[in-house]
Amino acid sequence: MNSEITGVLVTFFITLLIAFPLGKYIAKVFSGAPTFTDFLSPFERFLYRTCGIDPNKEMNWKQHMVALLTINLVWLIYAFFILLFQAHLPLNPDGNGNMTPDLAFNTSISFLVNCNLQHYSGESGLTYLSQLIVITFLQFVSAASGMAAVAVLFKAFAGKTTGKLGNFFVFFIKTITRLLLPLAVIMAIILAFSGTPASFDGKDTITTLQGDTVQVSRGPAAGMIAIKHLGTNGGGWFGANSAHPLENPGYFTNMVEAIAQCILPMALVFAFGFFINRKKLGYAVFGVMTIGMLTLMIPNMLSELGGNPALAKIGLHDHTAMEGKEVRIGVAASAYWQVMTTIISTGSVNSMHDSSMPLSGAMQLLGMMINCFYGGKGVGLLNYFIFLIIAVFISGLMVGRTPEFMGRKVEAKEMKIAAIIALFHPFLILVGTAIAAYYPQAAWLNNPGHHGFSEMLYEYTSSSANNGSGFEGLGDNNIFWNISTGIVMLLGRFLPIIGPVAIAGILANKKYTPESAGTLQTDTATFGIMTYAVIMIVAALAFFPALTLGPVAEFFQLY
C-alpha cells in the first residue's frame, strides 16, 4: 500500500483511538463526576464568584438560550468595534489597516458563529491584537457555546421528567477549562516545535538565494492554529490557511491538525451515549455518521486520486490533480481533509477546494449541506438530532404507533420545529445562491460556466452550514457578499441551535413512559439505516437540482 493511503488510514484510526476515551471524559465533565482535571476547579470557582454566576442554579431550555444569546451579543459588539478600529490599537507591527464596516460585520459574525468564513487574508487584513483578542478568543468561546448548547440535549434525556437542564455558564466554562484550553496548549506546543511561528515578531524581509528581496509574514500563530482545529472553527492565521507551509509545516503537523479537528465532534457522540447511559445509542449514531462520512469520502478520494483528465489531454502523462495542493501533504491527505473539514464544519483547508475535481466539489458541498456527519462542535449532534426526530416520526407512522423517543411522545409541536429547521438550511442556501446568480456577477467569479455557479453555491452553503471554507476564487470582499453571507451565517447558526434545544427541552418536560415491547428501538441497525435514509432523501430532494447545475454539469463537461 502506498505511503499516502497508509497516512490517511493511520490518521483516521488515531482519531478514533483518541475520540473514544475523550467521549467518556466529556460525559464525566458534563455530569460533574470526579475527573483528573479537578485541580482546575478553584479557577472555575473564581470565575463563578467574580462574574456573579451561581453554578448550582439550574436553567430550563429557554433560560439556556437567553443566556447563550446574551453573551453572544456581547461578543458580537465587542468584536465588531475592535476590528473596525484595529489599526489604532497596539500590536500592529505590519501596519495593517482598519476593516471596512461591511467586512468587520462579516468577520465578527463569522467568528462569533464558529463559521470562520474569511473575506480577508490574515497577513494583511488583521493586526496581531485582532488575531488574538478577537479571533483566537472567539474561536474558543464560539466552540464552547456550541458545546454548552448540546449539553442541554444530554441533560434532557439523562433523567426522567425534568425542566432543570443544568447551567449554561457552567457547561460553557467547563468546556473551556477542562477541554479546549488544555488540549489547545498541548497542540500549540507541538506545532511551535514543528516550525509554526509563535513569537510576536512582525514581517521579516530577506534576500533569497537567487537574490530577490521578499517578505515573510509571521506572528504568534501556533496558539490560534491549535484552537482553530480543536474548536472546529477553521479560520486560518495566513490567507492560505493550513496549506500555508508555516501554518502546516509538514506531514506530521498535517496529521495532528486533521486529527485535532475530528476528535471533539466524534467524542461528543460517544459522550452522549455515556451521559444518558445508553452506550448503544451512542455507537449506533456514530455508526450512521461514519457510513455517511464514507459515502462522501470514497467518491471524493477516488476522484482526486484519479487526477485531472484535462491535463492528460494536453499531453501530461502524470496528470495528478496537484493544482492548489501541496507536495508535502499530497493528494490523498488533501482529499481526506476536504471531506473531514466539510462534514465537521471546520472549514480550514490544506488544499484549494476551488481547484479540486468536480465530483470532489460535489461531495464537499454535500458534506456541508447535510452538516451532521460528526458535524461541528456541539451543533453537529444537534443537527443529527433533528433528523433523528424526523426518523422517529416517520418510523412511528410506518408501524402505526405513537412516535416516541427516550420514553417521551413526539407530537405535532416538536415535529413542526424539526421540519422547519430541516428545511431552513436549504432555504438559506438556495435563496442566497438564486439572488447572487441573478446579479451581474462577472467580476466576482474566478472561473467561467458551471464552476462559477458552484463558487456562489459553495459560498452560501459554507455560510449557512457555519463551515467557513470556500471556493476562494470568488471575489467576496464587497458589500453584497459581506452583508448577505453575514446574515446567512447568523441565521444558520442560532436557529439550528435553538430548534433542537427547544425540542429537547419540551420532550424533557413530558411524562416519561417506561419502554415496553411496543417501543420503537432507536439504537438498532434498522433504525440507523432509517435515519441515514431520511438524511439522504432530504438532502437529495433539497439540493440535487442545484448540484446538477454546478459540479455535476462540470463533471460531464470534463470527463
Binding site: S3, T50, G52, I53, T70, I71, W75, Y78, S121, E123, S124, I133, F137, F169, A184, V185, I189, G195, P197, A198, S199, D201, I206, T207, L209, Q210, D212, V214, V216, P220, A222, G239, A240, A243, P245, L246, P249, G250, Y251, F252, G307, N308, A310, L311, I314, G315, M322, E323, G324, K325, E326, V327, R328, G330, M352, S355, N446, N447, G449, E472
Partner: protein, 184 residues
C-alpha cells in the same frame, strides 16, 4: 436577558485576558525553546539568512532547481492558490504555456515526462518542496549549465529526498539548491 448581561460582560473580560492574552504569551514563551525560537526556522549560508526552511522561494535561474508555479509569486507577505477550476479553459492554456516553457529550458524533455506539480500552482503559493521525480527531470539541464557530473547531482537529489512510510516523498528545493551551490 438583563439578568445574564452583567455576568456575560464580566466573564467576557476575564476570558479575553485568559484566552487572548495569557494563552498566546504562554505559547510564545514555550516556543522560545524551539528551533528558531518561534520566529520561524531560517537557513543561513556563510552567516547570512537566505530564507526560511518551510517557505518556498522563486528560482527562475536555469542553474537552480526550480520549484512549483506560484499564484503569489513566492512573496510570503501573502499566500494563496490560483483557485482555477480543473475545467477552466484559460487555466489549461496557462498550463500549456508552462509545459512549453519547461521544454524550452530543458531541451530533450518530453511533455509526457513532466510531473504535474511542476506546471500546476500550489495551494499556498509558497510550497517549499517538489517530488523526487520533479527534481530528477531537471538534473541534466543543471549538470550542463554548471559543467558538473550528472551522477553527482543525482546523488545530491537522492541525499536530499525525505522519505517516510507516511505521506509523499519530497525534496526541499531551497536546501537542495544551497547544497548544489556548495558542490564543486
Amino acid at each position: 436577558m438583563k439578568k445574564y448581561l452583567l455576568p456575560s460582560i464580566k466573564l467576557t473580560l476575564i476570558l479575553i485576558l485568559v484566552l487572548g492574552v495569557a494563552y498566546p504569551l504562554l505559547i510564545a514563551g514555550v516556543a522560545h525553546f524551539a528551533i528558531g525560537q518561534g520566529k520561524g526556522r531560517t537557513i543561513s549560508v556563510n552567516g547570512k539568512v537566505v530564507g526560511y526552511e518551510n517557505v518556498g522561494q522563486k528560482f527562475t535561474d536555469d542553474k537552480y532547481f526550480q520549484g512549483r508555479p506560484s499564484a503569489v509569486d513566492y512573496n510570503a507577505a501573502g499566500s494563496g492558490g490560483s483557485n482555477k477550476a480543473a475545467s477552466n479553459p484559460d487555466y489549461l492554456k496557462t498550463v500549456q504555456e508552462r509545459i512549453d516553457t519547461f521544454m524550452a529550458h530543458n531541451p530533450g524533455t518530453l511533455a509526457a515526462d513532466i510531473p504535474a506539480e511542476l506546471v500546476t500552482a500550489s495551494g499556498s503559493g509558497l510550497d517549499p518542496d517538489i517530488s523526487p521525480s520533479a527534481a530528477d527531470i531537471q538534473v541534466i539541464r543543471i549538470a550542463a549549465i554548471r559543467h558538473l557530473d550528472v551522477a553527482a547531482i543525482r546523488k545530491l537529489v537522492a541525499d536530499h529526498t525525505d522519505k517516510s512510510w507516511l505521506g509523499p516523498d519530497k525534496v526541499n528545493v531551497l536546501k537542495l539548491n544551497i547544497a548544489l551551490d556548495a558542490l564543486k
